[in-house]
Symmetry: C2
Amino acid sequence: MSPNFIHTYVSVDCVVFGFDHENRLNILLVERHLDEAKQIKLPGSLIYSDEDVDDSAERVLYELTGIKKMVLKQFKCFADPSRAINKDDIKWMDEEYKHHIDRIITVAYLSLCKIDHKINSTKYNTVNWFPIHEVPNLPFDHNKIIKESLVEIRRWIEIDFSIIFELLPKKFTIRQLYQLYSALSEKYIDIKNFHKKISSFNYIVPLNEIETNVSHRAARYYKFDAKVYKKNNTKLIK
Amino acid sequence: MSPNFIHTYVSVDCVVFGFDHENRLNILLVERHLDEAKQIKLPGSLIYSDEDVDDSAERVLYELTGIKKMVLKQFKCFADPSRAINKDDIKWMDEEYKHHIDRIITVAYLSLCKIDHKINSTKYNTVNWFPIHEVPNLPFDHNKIIKESLVEIRRWIEIDFSIIFELLPKKFTIRQLYQLYSALSEKYIDIKNFHKKISSFNYIVPLNEIETNVSHRAARYYKFDAKVYKKNNTKLIK
């Protein structure tokens, strides 16, 4: 007898990070409806038979959030046989796709987005940013996917620190950079050491401008100089 | 009408790198038989319905090459709808799996292996190392997978240079390290600059031993000191 090979549906799920005005790392989630209940989840959907996964991720993110022309990087395929055995998840898929989905694997994508980016779903009424520490239990293995996406984004930033500036506004304070870096690093970083390190980087340029309308001491704004960064960071052996 | 969602078989393919005694980067390939013809390909196979992909990759690599307990890292899902439309590939899958495979996506894994590692397939008579620059046209999208795996391995080494020593023998010459690094970097690197950089790294330790039985001037052996490396390379902002 020939072995029981997997024959499966495949979805894409998009983990989109943003950094909010209260200096918190956020994640973009959509709201699914099942009977009377609402539940948030990662934006994701099944891919078509004539689609490649990368194209599908772009299409799905656009349909579900209105975001397009955003760098979406594939980071991992999740294929645990028990990732979609919860009965609510099965029921939701039956209704959503009008197919009975017995097995489903997903390919997860990662993206960084300015939080002011316009969100405009053709599918969901509710698409919202959630601070990463306030994300509740999600359907399927979406909590696991988010957890692993954080590990991946840390790796990216270790390879190429300039990536962090994709999340920040054009002018930012060192405190904002510190809070973002801390949120991504998931470990305590001394702010004085951080300041010292940052001021040694000539690609982080002080501006002649300070914060206004703040209750604390107004901090200086900085900008990221991509050209200087690129010049200094031609990679070869660390 | 409901859209035509993908319903597919899924395989894993393993890209295993080794570094040979002539200082060339190699890749491990198996030989498939179709009618009278033989053709080499990446070690890979279908996953089972009750398997997760990571477990499947371990199983498949072991069955096909005898390699076990090797770090295998997932790096990308390849799902181009035209990746398996060549008639030889379809015919081979029909015979190999006794299933008609209409659509197949693959999850690719990467591994680094000492070239002296024992190879012992329970499935293929022929499993061999091939210098990466001598790899011919392979079935499916295996050439593309290999090409992208090189980009990935370069990223790994930029993040963590210690990974390169997994490919080298325990004692190595700077020329060996240079040739391996050059093969992975895919760009010309000046050997004098390389020597200078390397000698500034205190985790690459000279030994009291030089090459014997060589026609050129005997070079000194070095070893990699993982403890010193780890101490120096606590990552934070570059």
